[in-house]
Symmetry: C2
Subunit: 144 residues, 2 copies
C-alpha cells in the first residue's frame, strides 16, 4: 500500500467510466453514419421523437448539455432538415425546437440502431439493471 496508490489508474472508478463512455459512443458510429447523425445528435433526436417540440432549456436539462453545446448542434440539425428552430411567441427569450416530418421519418431507420448495438455488449439483464441503477445514483449524488 504505497502512499501514491490512490493515483494509479487502476484504482480509479472515473477512468473506466470515461473509457467505457467514449468507446461505446465510438461503437455507435458505423450505425449512426448511415443516418447522418452523430451520437449527440442521436440523443437529441431521441428527445425530439418523443416530445415533438421542446425548448432549448428543457432539452439541455434532459441531456445535461448547455446552450454552448446545443446552439451549434441544433443549427446543424436544422440544416439537415431534422428540426425547425423558432422563437416562442409567448416569450421571445425561449427558442422552441420542433421536429420536422423528415426528422420524424428518420425514426424508422433509427429503430434498428439499439438492436444492433445490443449485440456488441454481452451484459445479462441483471448486470445491465445494476449498472443502470448505480449510474443513476452517481448522477443524483453529483448533482447534490
Amino acid at each position: 500500500m504505497g502512499k501514491y496508490d490512490c493515483l494509479k489508474l487502476e484504482t480509479q472508478l472515473c477512468f473506466p467510466l470515461y473509457v467505457c463512455s467514449k468507446e461505446i459512443i465510438r461503437k455507435y458510429k458505423p450505425y449512426l453514419d448511415p443516418l447522418g447523425l452523430t451520437y449527440t445528435q442521436y440523443i437529441a433526436m431521441m428527445v425530439m421523437w418523443e416530445r415533438k417540440k421542446v425548448n432549448v432549456k428543457e432539452l439541455g436539462e434532459r441531456l445535461y448539455l448547455d446552450s454552448g453545446t446545443l446552439t451549434p448542434l441544433l443549427k446543424k440539425m436544422e440544416e439537415k432538415g431534422l428540426v425547425r428552430r423558432e422563437r416562442s411567441s409567448e416569450d421571445e427569450r425561449v427558442l422552441d425546437v420542433v421536429i420536422t416530418d423528415e426528422g420524424m421519418a428518420l425514426r424508422e431507420e433509427a429503430v434498428k440502431v439499439p438492436m444492433a448495438m445490443k449485440s456488441c455488449v454481452t451484459l445479462n439483464m441483471e448486470e445491465a439493471k445494476l449498472l443502470y441503477d448505480v449510474l443513476g445514483k452517481i448522477i443524483q449524488d453529483i448533482r447534490e
Copy 2:
C-alpha cells in the same frame, strides 16, 4: 410496449454512462484547476508518475487515446514543464515522454485529489467494485 420504446432515453445504458462520465469529469475541475491540470492531463500524469518514461504509443494504449489527441496534449504538458518529449535514439519514429522533476513534484499536490473526489460520491465498497467490474467487462467486450 411501443415499437419505438427502444429509442427512449431511459431505456439506454449508454446515455447514463455518457452523462456520468461527463459530470464526474466536471466535478474534478475545482480540484484539478489549482494543479493547472485538465482531466485528460491528469490521467496522463497518472501514467507518468507510475512509469516515469513512456512513448506515445504506449501512453495511447493505456489511456485509449490516439496521437491526434495526445500530440497537442503532450506539447501543452511540455510547455508547463511537466514532461520532456524526445525522440528515441533506437527508433527515430518513436517519441519518448519523460517526466521532469517538476512533474514528479506535482504528485505531492495530486494525492489530495482522489480523497476529495471520493467524498462527492456515496457508493459503498460493494457497489464500487461491482461497477468497476462491469465497466471492465464492457470495455473488453467492445474491444472484441
